[in-house]
């Protein structure tokens, strides 16, 4: 299925957001990432129950320096 991850086109077989994160190397529950699907926040606990659909847009973010 064709999706977008952090603004870039991607292909995935993942059925839910948790599977996608794991496929992208963020599979450990302690990995410090946060996610959004189509502009809405998805909490760490809700990822496994969040199904992915064609053309979904996913954001995966981490802590970074800021002013």
């Amino acid at each position: 299925m064709k999706i977008s991850v952090n603004g870039e086109a991607a292909e995935t077989q993942a059925k839910n957001l948790q599977e996608l994160c794991a496929a992208l190397g963020h599979g450990h529950w302690q990995d410090r990432i946060a996610t959004a699907l189509n502009g809405d926040f998805v909490s760490v606990l809700a990822r496994i129950g969040t199904r992915l659909n064609e053309h979904d847009s996913i954001e995966i973010v981490t802590p970074r320096q800021g002013g």
Binding site: R32, F41, V61, P63, R64, Q65, G66, G67
Partner: protein, 263 residues
């Protein structure tokens, strides 16, 4: 009086950003040298398997300071609210420096979206620190939405100009005597920070002035001293400026003084 944000006491009136430093070590050394007890951070896209975010998180944990995540770069209410929600989970805090930006060149706050986002986030349990202009009507609306701290800009972000509108900032201090007010953005030199303190502001938030200094660690110390001096001056009671000269040495008993010489 100790500085307090949303019921939490801070031991320093200097709040500093964590971006633009030459290295992580210099960032840590500068924060420690400045005595700051609050740093701002952000959330950004993670490249797969890069783990940069985890490294930065570990660094911040070492500093033992309050963390204030921002929504820098957000231009809509939706972006700002979602970014705040992601930041709350990542940084394990409900404090948020709320930025809704109107324009890339000026980085001016988009005040209508700011009020709407502040209301949504306050209702969702966040403790909002709004980056705002010095407009009093805007300030009233933000307080009405639940904000207990206000952060007017001194001058545009990263400009180092100090205070574009000192009269309005003075008025804001007088208008909100009991709300913590922070000058956020535009501070370029320790003298600006001292002036903010002399004006009665509770704290200053800056990044570039320390991070881009030739020696950020030394500049951190310089800002700490300027803020101490300015705050002490404010608490001491500054003299009122006068238009005309007034002799400090007693006039009575001046040698060679003759009544007719007095003007």
């Amino acid at each position: 009086m100790t500085l307090e944000f949303y019921g939490k006491k801070l031991g320093s009136r200097l709040l500093i950003g964590t971006a633009l430093y030459p290295s992580p070590k210099i960032l840590c050394d500068a924060v420690n040298a400045s005595g700051s007890k609050l740093v701002t951070v952000s959330v950004r896209r993670e490249a797969a398997r890069e783990r940069a975010g985890q490294g930065f998180w570990d660094l911040i944990k070492q500093l033992d300071v309050f963390v204030l995540p921002n929504t820098a770069g957000c231009k809509t209410v939706k972006e700002a609210v979602t970014t705040a929600q992601m930041a709350r989970e990542l940084f394990e805090t409900n404090w948020i420096k709320l930025e809704v930006i109107a324009n890339d060149d000026t980085l001016q706050p988009e005040i209508f979206g700011l009020v709407e986002a502040a209301r949504i986030l306050n209702d969702d349990g966040f403790k909002v620190f709004p980056y705002m202009t010095e407009d009093l009507g805007l300030a009233e609306k933000l307080v009405g939405s639940g904000c207990e701290v206000l952060m007017p800009w001194g001058a545009p972000i990263g400009s180092g100009q100090g205070f574009a509108n000192p009269l309005a900032l003075t008025t804001m201090r007088a208008y909100f005597p009991n709300i913590p007010l922070v000058i956020d953005a535009g501070i370029g030199a320790p003298s600006h920070a001292a002036r903010a303190m002399e004006m009665g502001y509770d704290a200053v938030l800056l990044n570039t002035a320390i991070a881009k200094a030739g020696d950020p660690v030394k500049m951190g110390r310089a800002f700490a001293r300027a803020i101490d001096a300015g705050r002490l001056a404010y608490e001491s009671g500054l003299m009122e400026p006068r238009d005309m000269a007034s002799p400090s040495t007693p006039v009575a008993g001046t040698p060679f003084f003759k009544i007719g010489d007095a003007s």
